[in-house]
Point group: C2
Amino acid sequence: MAKLTSRDQDYSKWYNELVVDADLAQHSDVKGCMVIKPYGFAIWERMKEVLDAKFKETGHVNAYFPLLIPKSYLSREAAHVEGFAKECAVVTHYRLKNDPDGAGVVVDPDAKLEEELIIRPTSETIIWKTYKNWIQSYRDLPLLVNQWANVVRWEMRTRLFLRTTEFLWQEGHTAHATKDEAVAEAEQMLRVYAEFAEGTLAMPVIQGVKTASERFAGALNTYCIEALMQDGKALQAGTSHFLGQNFARAFDVTFATKDGGKEHVWATSWGVSTRLMGALIMTHSDDLGLVLPPELAPIQAVIVPIHKGGEGEAVVMERCNALCDELRAAGIRVKLDDDDTRRSGWKFAQYELQGVPVRLAIGPRDAAGGTVELARRDTREKSLVPFEGIAAHITALLSEIQSQLLSASRQRLTDNITEVDTWDEFTAALDRGGFVSAHWDGTDETEEWIKQKTKATIRCIPFDGPGTPSPVAPGACVKTGAPSERRVLFARAY
Amino acid sequence: MAKLTSRDQDYSKWYNELVVDADLAQHSDVKGCMVIKPYGFAIWERMKEVLDAKFKETGHVNAYFPLLIPKSYLSREAAHVEGFAKECAVVTHYRLKNDPDGAGVVVDPDAKLEEELIIRPTSETIIWKTYKNWIQSYRDLPLLVNQWANVVRWEMRTRLFLRTTEFLWQEGHTAHATKDEAVAEAEQMLRVYAEFAEGTLAMPVIQGVKTASERFAGALNTYCIEALMQDGKALQAGTSHFLGQNFARAFDVTFATKDGGKEHVWATSWGVSTRLMGALIMTHSDDLGLVLPPELAPIQAVIVPIHKGGEGEAVVMERCNALCDELRAAGIRVKLDDDDTRRSGWKFAQYELQGVPVRLAIGPRDAAGGTVELARRDTREKSLVPFEGIAAHITALLSEIQSQLLSASRQRLTDNITEVDTWDEFTAALDRGGFVSAHWDGTDETEEWIKQKTKATIRCIPFDGPGTPSPVAPGACVKTGAPSERRVLFARAY
């Protein structure tokens, strides 16, 4: 196994190598489309499972809408078409035929569609077209629907998980009788995302709203969670949109109110994607490979038997099997690796690379003495623990690892938010990396100018309250000196 | 709520109405593509959950491969391209632009792909292209991978769930070192499907193999499970293919054997789809709507409070809430419907239509007397049961309903397999419906002639052994009189 490039040497190369070497994903021959390998997919499945339970707890149900959207739907909402029409995969034909001049197949010109179909880049249009038939009265509201799906947005520069032409995601699409309910829903789902990021991914996030220029195409307000990667770049980890009545108007979705009136429905949409896999990797991992929070780890503890065959083998294997049974009975996701074709050194390196939180090794001396050699992936600490009571020990340890990963990344986040008041401080802070908390005059022009000049964008206007990076207070724009109501967070971002 | 067309009157119309009225699915504006509504999707989610657990128990892992396949991949396997190229959605462009002559958007002619991409109709080609890099040595085998995905096959005549342009499915793709292992895998997965159909869907199936003309495009052998619908038509509910070395050869996938040789890998693939939803509906449902086996029911028991407000309401609601808590604690999927805007008669009809296995009603007299009115959806029997011990009673009842649904449909299947020996018997039996067990001379010509003449196909050559419709014994072809080794099953089919 070749060593990974170190993070210091080349962070981006380290990331790409890790994703492939740890068996998470790889590029396919189709430009920009990835293959999610079984180990990577098992982590995504855990994310789905936890999120899906949270969506259901908050009253949502799943459904499925068509992959293909008639081209004309995209044009129905003016801002939406501007945002999404540029990057669409377009289906124009529905049949191939044998190439009359050769061996392969060619597009059959007789099978041209009357109206082209777009592979969904997001599903607001087809869903609101459908909601028109689902919603007549206030009794039909709220409608709280989520969809797990693949989407396609044509991308010129792609990176595994972070930016791919096809990606997997969930998209919630809700309909409400009042503006207040819709806003409350959009805010609630942002909290769900934040709790998931912190509780499951052990990844602290800053919650806030996007500026007008960074809003979702068709939204009145976009809420977001922003995380900080190890290299000092920000990553948008989830968004929740208050769509107002834009899509209801575009698709003519009205409802009969309790008092006999007729109004357009209020909407939200919200989503997270396989991009979270990239965020997870760049939050915890190190030069030896992936570091996984136990909550997400497909294998939480791996058992490696150490023996040289012969009589020792039976004793060691008996212990290993007993340990495996005990941990499994305690609800721990455990794997016993008894593959004889690999040496234990190879296995140790492999499980380090794949981020298994706890590694347990048992040799003849351990088997005789009633001990197990335990190695933590996060701290790389080793200890000898008694077999007696080991399931409780490991359960507690997994929970400790989970919270230590969160506190370590929270510390990193806190340490990397810099408040600045001058342009020089601003650019210097940006170059050090992390979030820069600065005053901004609130204009698109200044925002765009700063973006062009520094490649930094306003990641969000953070919510005020406990945990906010900078309490709301007026000041002067770091660029123009014009008055500013409050600081916003800038960063270079993925 | 309008009554459904009865099955006797028009089976096909009954089916279409039921699917829409019971909130399972509906047509979308995109030709042949359906919307799976939340209630229908919840049933599909249960199917997925049960199947996925079975796949994992048998050692399979999930992964995800690209939606889009380069056109040239399809041509790599000769039989495969014949079978699938005819019905593909073809992506030719990757961008839209504002219509220079109007308000909408048009395909940007400058964004034409060099090689067209096909939306996957099935994933053998892209997966075997990927496996080439995953498989080097016998150590990498077997490779046991499954994918849950959407696929698109252009269909001219579509029906909700049964035949749609886009559908959801799982496709297993495995790679093995030997022919025997691959055959054993294909057979194992057919058994998994059969157990799922009988144990979860309460739908008995006949297991067997397809004739050469009905094989999957690219397979050496296709195993199948065939079910019988209420109207006497057969439905192919799942297939498992032994692919030999065809795809390994097409994509040059070889492995180093233990003794230093080099061989092509052996393959299987197997899948079931949202078509199972159609099979489920047409196995158990009646003129009042859906009948669901408890194993699959998103709501296993619904509680309907009966009161006229006032003092009675509090007493009734207290009982209902206690009942709901108790059933939930016993692991029953229960819903308390306390919606005040609907009358109880409306609710009764609605839950009948949606196939909820057990309905519980509590009125003031029940609340006072410690009883519950229980109605079974399958038999429509009503009984008064004591509150005391009700969770155990309902748990037992759900399991009884599950097994009674299976035995009823098994009886129907058995009653509708007719052994015939002459052409007149054959056509008469076909017209009565069900499976017709008849001798066939084994030629494609006779098979095709019968298909053209009667619209019946050979559904399968059933496995011999316990439960086979007809033990293996020689005879004379029902059409040509030529010698036949054994009977096969004919039917008209969905």
